[in-house]
């Protein structure tokens, strides 16, 4: 067992962990401040904020030998017998001085800076800095510039930690950013006419510990302390990146990545990052509609349910059969509840999978531990990041339900051919994209005598369906998705369901008369786990924070869950 001594206390290092001093201290609840270090990037030790006193304990004699000077914690391996002193007068004085130097040219424009509230400089200058500014010379003010269509660089706020430079070199490997000139003249720059253009570009904004790199999409819109963060899972592709959905005043304002070493590490792609816009889309269905003649008429839910049930009951009594189509955008719980309801209607029911959008090919960024990296790489655990070609979050989970309730995952095209033999077609949609269905597919489905649609957007199928029920969008529902690696991940609702619309789980409970809304997705998951063999692992309905691999056991990851301190604040004043 490796023992490390931090501030006079002994701690046992976890098995297999290759920590540096910052990680080790953090693991035991002791904070060492840092800016330039990031667990996924190589160590350059250029901000000097994490410098601490370091020594070694001789295992034979028990004698402790300290190094004469302060040493960067990010570069110090935590080994058996390592001694760290993080709170001595020398260290505290040093932090004060470093803060003063970092802030020499930094403007005092926190009131108009979007980073304020989740800013490393604000947090550390409050904790470690001086109250007064002693620098009387004129500040070195560098102009603002744009590094891409979506990212703006406020050079006056930059502290030259080079996290962004290392990111573009080491993770996507595109190396658009570099450091130009040296010392006081140093600045982050792009090559002429070569903006930061890679699918992961937005991550440099999250990496920036200060307000230098900012997202133009979010610029000047909100103050971060007004935002409420909700743990979500990205619905953009089957990778299922862990995201934080941040909302205020009934609108989602941004998506930020959440660390999950089994899925997305620290990153999300730009498509997922800006996918939040679908939650605020004006084309979301705003109620329930019934087709009368050629027009759809909005009806309240009680009347809608009554008419739907009357229509279905008479037709099912006439021994008409039902075709149910479950979209891969449904959560596991929704797919279960929908399939269960259809199965309870009649035994002449066929289930099929909705269209699974596939665009391009899987794009994997597999950073090497050392290749393409410049600094000290000994603490890096390289993890690949994949953007799936399959652009739906829960095909695996819906297929599990189709296997259990139907005859496996019947593809959408095949289901369209069998519309002729099923007078009743019930479609459960949920795609945030209005164009998820083609015109010829709509025509094929319309051949059914009764076409029922549960969906989120106003789309071509909603234009022709007999019954159209608006359901909660991806940001308005909670539940679980199964990603491409068969990892079950929980997401929570960020917004309440919009006016006039129910979450699908509640609507099915009302239509089937099985329960009283509101329905808790956890209860449905519990019920599903009892009957669906693939879900047996979640019999209590509880999904761990980092998700649950349905097939195999996860290898434990000692540094899982590490996140920069300053991004963790969730202070809502409202």
């Amino acid at each position: 067992m490796a023992t490390i001594i931090i501030d006079g206390q002994s701690f046992e290092l976890p098995e297999g962990a290759k920590f540096n001093a910052i990680q080790a201290a953090k693991h035991f609840g002791i904070d060492i401040p840092y800016y330039c270090w990031h667990p996924a990037l190589s160590v350059v030790a250029n901000c000097r904020m994490c410098e601490i006193e370091v020594g070694t304990k001789d295992p034979a004699t028990g004698e402790i030998k300290m190094l004469p000077r302060l040493v960067p914690g990010c570069q110090t391996p935590a080994r058996d017998g390592t001694v760290l002193v993080t709170e001595s007068a020398k260290v505290l004085e040093h932090r004060k001085n470093i803060m003063e130097l970092l802030l020499i040219n930094h403007p005092l424009d926190c009131p108009v800076c979007d980073q304020a509230g989740e800013c490393g400089l604000q947090d550390y200058s409050y904790e470690h800095g001086r109250a007064a500014h002693r620098f009387v010379e004129e500040r070195n003010v560098k102009p603002k510039k744009e590094v891409s269509d979506l990212i703006v660089l406020n050079q006056d706020r930059c502290i030259m930690c080079t996290r962004c430079v290392r990111f573009t070199r080491e993770i996507p490997g595109t190396a658009e950013l570099h450091v130009m000139r040296r010392g006081d003249h140093g600045e982050i720059a792009i090559f002429p006419d070569q903006p930061v253009d890679n699918p992961l570009a937005g991550n440099v904004v999250d990496l920036c510990p200060v307000g230098a790199l900012l997202d133009k999409d979010f610029l000047h819109n909100q103050r971060v302390w007004f935002l409420s963060k909700h743990d979500g899972v990205c619905t953009g592709c089957s990778t299922g990146c862990n995201i934080s959905v941040e909302e205020n005043a009934g609108k989602v304002w941004r998506h930020k990545p959440r660390h999950n070493p089994y899925v997305n590490d620290y990153w999300i792609c730009d498509e997922g990052r800006y996918g939040y816009k679908a939650a605020n889309s004006p084309t979301l269905l705003g109620g329930n509609y019934v087709l009368e003649g050629k027009d759809h008429h909005g009806v309240p839910t009680d009347r809608f349910v009554k008419r739907l049930n009357e229509t279905l009951t008479t037709r099912i009594l006439d021994k008409q059969s039902v075709l149910g189509i479950l979209s891969p955008y449904l959560s596991v719980e929704e797919a279960f509840a929908a399939a269960q309801w259809l199965a309870s209607l009649t035994n002449r029911v066929e289930l099929a999978l909705g269209p699974v959008p596939v665009r391009g090919e899987d794009l994997t960024f597999a950073p090497d531990k050392t290749k393409g990296r410049s600094g000290d790489t000994s603490f890096i655990v390289p993890r690949p990041f994949t953007i799936s070609a399959e652009k739906a979050p829960n095909r695996a989970g819906v297929e599990m339900m189709l296997d259990h309730f139907g005859k496996g995952a019947v593809p959408f095209e095949k289901a369209l051919e069998s519309v002729a033999s099923h007078p009743i077609v019930i479609v459960f949609g949920g795609s945030p994209d209005e164009s998820w269905i083609e015109a010829d597919q709509v025509a094929a489905l319309r051949k059914a005598e009764v076409l029922v649609l549960f969906d989120t957007t106003i789309n071509p199928l909603a234009d022709v369906a007999d019954f159209v029920a608006g359901i909660a969008s991806f940001a308005e529902k909670s539940g679980t998705y199964v990603n491409r690696d068969r990892r079950l991940q929980r997401f929570e609702a960020a917004l309440p369901p919009r006016e006039g619309v129910w979450p699908l789980l509640d609507l099915i409970a009302i239509v089937s008369g099985d329960g009283k809304a509101p329905i808790r997705s956890q209860e449905i998951l519990k019920a599903a786990a009892r009957v669906v063999p693939g879900l047996a692992k979640v019999e209590d309905g509880l999904v761990p924070e980092l998700g649950l691999n349905l097939d195999s056991k996860d290898q434990p990851i000692p540094d899982a869950g590490f996140q920069d301190d300053w991004t963790l604040a969730n202070v809502s004043t409202v």
Binding site: P111, V112, K144, L219, H220, N221, R223, W225, F226, A249, G250, T573, V574
Partner: protein, 205 residues
């Protein structure tokens, strides 16, 4: 603190004499004060009330009345939409929509596209004034605020700026410090856009 805590000092009300128990001395004492005021008001100018609205009340200099949004020397709104007032506001009566400032405003990068205060919800505590880093929002001595509907009492940016125009003569800006003007600004670009998007009621909640 527990009720049997030894540090508690127990007090008993003073015993009243028989005369005091009749309350007559206190009543007579009160009548004497009333009588003194009647005589003063009848004989001289000793009245403590005033004939409002013919006579206008002058509140003290630190009175906290209707808000105003200050303008800088170029007539632009001083607010930089940092939303610290909305953050400090204990009743959440301030709603601001920030936007990137026009290119020509070289001294700032952000301004308020819309600035709405619900004057009925406001408790006039003055925290917004305290929080403002650019002295853009101030409480004036205007106290006779009235309206015929609730909507009328939701003040938007135009209205708040007009309060500044109304009161700037009598009450100069408290800070008095105006940000230094750059030389290269053209006159026509400095007019403040006063119409922002219509703020719906629910956004204020």
């Amino acid at each position: 603190m527990r009720s049997d805590d030894p540090a508690l000092k127990k007090m008993t009300p003073p015993k009243l004499t028989l005369l005091e128990q009749s309350y007559l001395p206190q009543i007579l004492g009160g009548l004497v004060v009333t009588g003194r005021h009647i005589v003063k008001a009848a004989l001289g100018d000793g009245a403590v009330t005033m004939e409002y609205p013919e006579v206008q009340h002058q509140p003290s200099p630190n009175y906290r009345g209707v808000h105003r949004l200050n303008k800088d020397e170029q007539g632009r709104v001083k607010c930089v939409a940092c939303m610290l007032c909305a953050t400090a506001c204990p009743v959440h009566c301030i709603d601001i929509v920030g936007a990137t400032a026009p290119e020509s405003w070289t001294d700032r990068e952000k301004y308020c596209q819309s600035f709405v205060i619900d004057e009925l919800r406001c408790i006039y505590c003055g925290m917004c004034e305290e929080a403002c880093p650019v002295d853009a929002i101030e409480l004036t001595s205007m106290y006779d605020l009235s309206g015929l509907s609730r909507e009328e009492m939701i003040f938007d940016k135009t209205k708040l700026l007009s309060v500044f125009d109304l009161t700037k003569e009598g009450e100069p800006m408290k800070s008095g410090i105006v940000p230094p003007a750059s030389s290269n600004r053209s006159r026509e670009l400095v007019t403040t856009p006063t119409t922002g998007p219509v703020i719906e009621r629910q956004q204020l909640v």
